[in-house]
Amino acid sequence: MDALLTKTEEKTVLTEKEKITGSEALLKCLVAENVKTIFGYPGGAIMPVYDALYGYADQLTHILVRHEQGAIHAAQGFARVSGKPGIVFATSGPGATNLVTGLADALIDSTPLVCITGQVFAHLLGTDAFQEIDVINTTIPVTKWNVQVTEAKDIAGAVAKAFHIATSGRPGPVLIDITKNAQNELFEFDEYKKCDSIRTYKPKPQLQIKEIEAAAALISQAKKPYILAGQGILLSGASKELIAFSEKTGIPVASTLLGLGAFPTDHPNYVGYLGMHGNYGPNLNTNQCDVLIAVGMRFDDRVTGNVSKYAKQAKVIHIEIDKAEINKIIKADIAVHADAKEALGSLINLVEPNNHSEWIESFRALNREEYEKVVHHEFNSTGEIKMGEVINHLSNQTNGESILVTDVGQHQMVASRYYQFKNPRTNVTSGGAGTMGFALPAAMGAKLAIPTQQVVAVIGDGGYQMTVQELGTIMQYKIPVKILVLNNNFLGMVRQWQQLFHGKRYSFTEMVNPNFVKLAEAYSIPARKVEKREELQDALKEMLEAKTPYFLEVVVGKEDNVFPMVPAGAGVADVLLEAPKSK
């Protein structure tokens, strides 16, 4: 790829062929990569690509969003449920910088994306031309890889590399910035060749049998082994292997936020959800287990709490494809640098069959305590509607089989706690980045990826208004997503922290909201608001049965808190079931 280099290579002589523009070459490459759906927004510097797209309407469906951030979150939702890379088009300058949040979100949550941004003419680079922003340097920290292309002949090579990098190893977002002259340039397009290897990039580690044997030996003699399942299980498609492994060894499984769905919540070995607002048993028993088997997860601080008080008694086996995650936060006694599916598939043959029912029962006992103190009240309140009961009804009515897309905040934690996920790739949420405004566009993308699946976006009133403009996209393309806004007229999670840790000084967290029903109706989306408990079940049913997009607002307790909670700076064993008594 000459354009990437500091000198020009000798040109090879091609036979006479019909010339096409760089823009059309780009589209041919996308078609060859089996792309069907693109999320995007046009603008000056990407107009040649959009012009070419006009002639590709039979092969490529382009969804015109209302803001580039909507495009990239939609692409994330698309990728998370389908496993295929999400594709985004945006123009130069502000079009490209509007992708930055989504890129950061996709990078930390390992989501494969290929983003194409237009750029000013190559001869204008660095001149502060109209809508010129240095997109490459802006997005280096938030992409797995990016590249600028300034000549049409380099487009195909860049696209091939981009798809390979985005989808292999630990997946992630890539960005190709194409100058306008390269989009316009006529050239002889050769056949598109997919890329399956890059000299300096080794995405798939070789499974080390010594590591697997050492892990198996440790697991076989463990008295209280404990599996933490992360998104790596979903990304490598290792759910079956994880279930088989847990069943053979009798080891309990807890899930991280992004791992939800990797292991069925109704499985007898499932013990709950980990982290700051996770279940009581999984958090407390982290500091009781003797062998901690972390699979495809990265010990996020929302999972570990204070690391100096995290699983100090345990030997840690860390199975992880990204070498930079091993020993980054928690020192691994046995590091298995491998794909989760391969590692579990190999490990299962070496471990002894076992039963740890007493150990699993200790999780159950703790979770019963949580039920009495927290869940019971959440589900059986007689006062204001609780977020937990809404999610519980939703989970029951959908049998835990819908795709649930959540935003960020209290509703997200409640949804993750109470939705009984049954299947892989049914939980879509912004985990590592915690991007408010993620859910509405991500739900659109998820629905377009799998139109046969029910897709429900659960969103708070704050996050909803961050990307609410995407109602326009939902209306235009008649995307039948179900939008469930849990409205407490507060930025609830921040308010909860203000209540618990800042002396109830509610500094700028209360919101005066618009009439959400009228807003949805302005976009021709059927809408309903529920304030009474008696109407809740019926309203949820109406929402789920709708063949169209549907908006449901449920007014919930203004000052309800999410518990359990591991306070900031505390260890996992310090998880609280209720607010500490005020002094």
């Binding site: 990437l4 280099l5 500091t6 000198k7 490459i136 340097n137 280096i140 920290p141 797995k144 890889w145 990016n146 590249v147 600028q148 990098i165 890059i198 000299r199 300096t200 990039y201 990204d322 070498k323 930079a324 091993i326 020993n327 980054k328």
Partner: protein, 96 residues
Amino acid sequence: MKQDYTLELAADNNFSVLNRIINILNRRRVRIKKLMAHENENDFRRGGVIMLLFTTPDLIEKITVQLEKLIEVDSVKVYQGNSEYFELSEKIVDVD
């Protein structure tokens, strides 16, 4: 305890590679005492960076794997102290 480390990186010589490398050090707030970047004499498509860093053993371990993770980076060699920095950079200067 912070100490001197010499890092020797081999990488593809694309635009932006140096920025990617420096970004990782900046993000971890690792002090760069000296730095030399170069194209390879007989193959301009490849190049390298030699750096003298001042940081802790723990951070150098973490940085090394993060640098290795960069798509264009081929290899990262770590040496304790600064003598390798001067040896390696002299070699580059000699060639030029």
